[in-house]
Symmetry: C2
Subunit: 431 residues, 2 copies
């Protein structure tokens, strides 16, 4: 007998990160890193854990939305679900009444992300593989069947996607061995939070250099004077050969970005991230044309694959920063990665937050092993916070992520961490 | 003493429209027209009523989001709010933690719409004017100050927006008189719902012709055979001189749209509405190029002004279908109408739903009186459902909307209608 999904529990988990200004930036001065966390229970011996990420208020809305979305799965046979994960994505995003509140964006899509992450976690545990390996072992046809092509096939017909994957198939085994051995290159954002003092930034930069990091990201956007001072400080610390990235977290307009990056160009930024509204595809394209050779990156608030499709079609981005909790799980991320491969755009995912590193690493391993086959200009964000709350936390070595070995999606939190950070009843919030 | 906002009540109101397939289309087979309804209470003698619109499940999420957003206003002095409504918009959309769950899209932005609609309703009642008149009486500078220009000024600098309004100021009094006398031209969608039988569609079309309607919208998108049969039926009924519009409600891909509209061109559609994903700006632009002279319309799911900006910049739409409950109230709609005027695109708002006709009529009166000054190619959607639940329902005459006379935003529902349709406790749902 196969198992069925019997019920769903959600947990509003919040970490009081705003107390130390971890994660602070020009748009988000006081984030409390939070997980709208879901457990899919079955009548068998497997569970699926998943989450979406928020920064505090509104996490309860995501939990309520997860309840509504996950209800679509209750009663379903899990082998039936795993046999057609493309259909599961359409089921989870396709309830017409719930879809109206998006569509495919905002709270309802964040909830779909949590639910899809939980289904994939369950699938990995069920077959005894980490999700990156489960996906890497699929055939090109199986991978492509995970994606909803309705709104994407004008940019990449599914038949062409299959051909592109087939062309890369012969090197997969070597790339798996390489990942197990060396890992996937990462960069750190932990030094550059906006709320940190100059002394703290300097100390963290030196520690990061000593630990082998080569790419450093700083926050900008409060004032050009402040941005300039901090950029000079960081560039002085890291020297001319390491990479410096800047992140404005959407606070600028299009013309303001062009003007400000003119001033900051002297510090040789590799990219400017989220310069303006994440919805402004044509604005990003204009910025990219006018600030070259500085490159444009965005994606953590890019709410679905249709938006990424256009960012690529419009030559608006040089780096694609998919997020495991903004897009609705591996299905949608694979669609974006396939398009990025066609358009020649490196995928450098967003991972600043709680649980994001744990989830997205699986997708970057997949991207290298089966989709792009390249590490050129590719770095995966790493933030050194809150990993100890996870059962199977990320492992890094010499500025590289090492592949998870345990079955599942690495998103399962320790029961004690969940209990202690429940909002508002947990001990951490009652203190 | 001025009044203060003391507390907020929300009501999950749903009408069982799916029982008769009112409102049915290819994407939404069984909508239950719903209002996530909010009342802002004060310690004075004025209340503000507002709502956003959904089609059933998920309405509870919007109510919860309204509670979170409206909490930002509790304790505020209403005269202080009315003195700077541009600042109110930034307050309501600007909480950084809640913003993360959008930004400016999905459930949290629908909630912002409900709250802003309620503040404007209160403002109109406080000064004893219908909202259209309150806005039409503002100076160009006051109107432009309502808009958040951060992400829009690259397309239309605010100083240019003021100049454009000043150029139209001299004709305002005449246009107000014309609206009071003749009203604003409308079109009807009531005949074309997808779930209706051919006989019902034919009967409704004949009734609508007899009532003076000249523009008719039909739903398409289930199958090209079915679409063709229904288009022929409607074109036969309305004759060659009346206008036929088609609405696919997002079910097609980009290339699918181009192919299908090739088949349907023989019925001389004026526009195809929502052919594909509402997020696909470049897709709409390609469709517009390839199906000309058939025009493209979209907007009811266009989630913010940044998206409309790009639809206009990309020559993707010939009609701008703003929605009073998708955009966050008059502030954001005015920004879109100002851009539409600059780009020469007629605003033909979406109003299919409950309460949408009541709200959006105010904005179309404003558009004609103060912004575009034109009725050319402009028609406002009218749907003949559920108006009797409102205290001040829309009035139409000879295919025209007549301006509301009562103070406020016309969005206030009768207490008995609210009580009877509360979900799931109301009598209508207990039956």
């Amino acid at each position: 007998m196969s198992a069925r999904i019997t019920n769903v529990t959600t947990h509003d988990i919040r970490f009081p990160t705003s107390r130390l200004l971890d994660g602070s930036d020009a748009m988000n001065p006081n984030p409390d890193y939070s997980a709208a966390y879901v457990i899919l229970h079955t009548d068998g011996d497997v569970e699926g854990h998943g989450m979406t990420f928020t920064i505090g208020r509104g996490n309860d809305l995501c939990c309520a939305a997860i309840d509504a979305v996950a209800a679509l799965l209750v009663g379903r046979d899990i082998d039936g679900l795993f046999a057609d994960m493309g259909a599961v994505w359409k089921l989870v995003t396709g309830d017409s009444q719930l879809r109206w509140t998006g569509p495919e964006k905002g709270v309802i899509h964040l909830a779909a992300a949590a639910v899809m992450n939980a289904v994939w976690d369950m699938y990995g545990k069920h077959v005894g593989k980490p999700v990156w390996r489960l996906l890497a072992d699929m055939t090109p046809r199986e991978l492509v069947a995970l994606v909803d092509w309705r709104y994407l096939s004008d940019a990449l017909p599914p038949a062409e996607a299959i051909e592109r994957l087939q062309d890369k198939a012969s090197g997969k085994a070597d790339r798996i061995a390489q990942m197990q051995d060396v890992g996937y290159p990462a960069y750190t954002t932990s030094a550059g939070w906006l709320g940190y003092s100059d002394d703290k930034v300097r100390d963290l930069a030196r520690q990061a250099i000593a630990a082998g990091w080569t790419h450093f990201k700083m926050k900008v956007g409060v004032s050009i004077q402040d941005d300039t001072r901090r950029a000079r400080l960081l560039r002085d610390e890291i020297g001319p050969d390491r990479f410096l990235m800047m992140d404005a977290n959407q606070v600028w307009g299009v013309e303001e970005t062009i003007e400000n990056m003119g001033h900051l160009a002297e510090f040789d930024p590799w990219w400017i991230e989220e310069p303006t509204s994440p919805d402004d595809i044509l604005g990003h394209a204009r910025i990219a044309r006018e600030i070259a050779p500085i490159k444009v990156a965005t994606g953590e608030h890019c709410h679905n694959a249709v938006m990424f499709k256009q960012l690529m079609q419009a030559d608006a981005i040089s780096f694609c920063q998919v997020d495991s909790c903004r897009l609705a799980g591996p299905n949608e991320i694979i669609g974006v990665m396939l398009m990025a491969d066609k358009f020649g755009i490196p995928v450098c995912p967003h991972a600043g937050g709680v649980g994001l590193c744990e989830l997205i690493q699986h997708m970057s391993f997949l991207d290298y092993i089966a989709i792009s086959g390249s590490l050129e200009n590719r770095v995966l964000e790493y933030v050194d916070h809150l990993h100890d709350h996870f059962v199977d936390p990320v492992r890094t070595h010499d500025g590289h992520y090492l592949p998870p070995q345990r079955p599942g999606f690495s998103v399962e939190m320790k029961p004690d961490s969940i209990a202690r950070h429940l909002f508002p009843s947990g001990a951490e919030w009652q203190a």
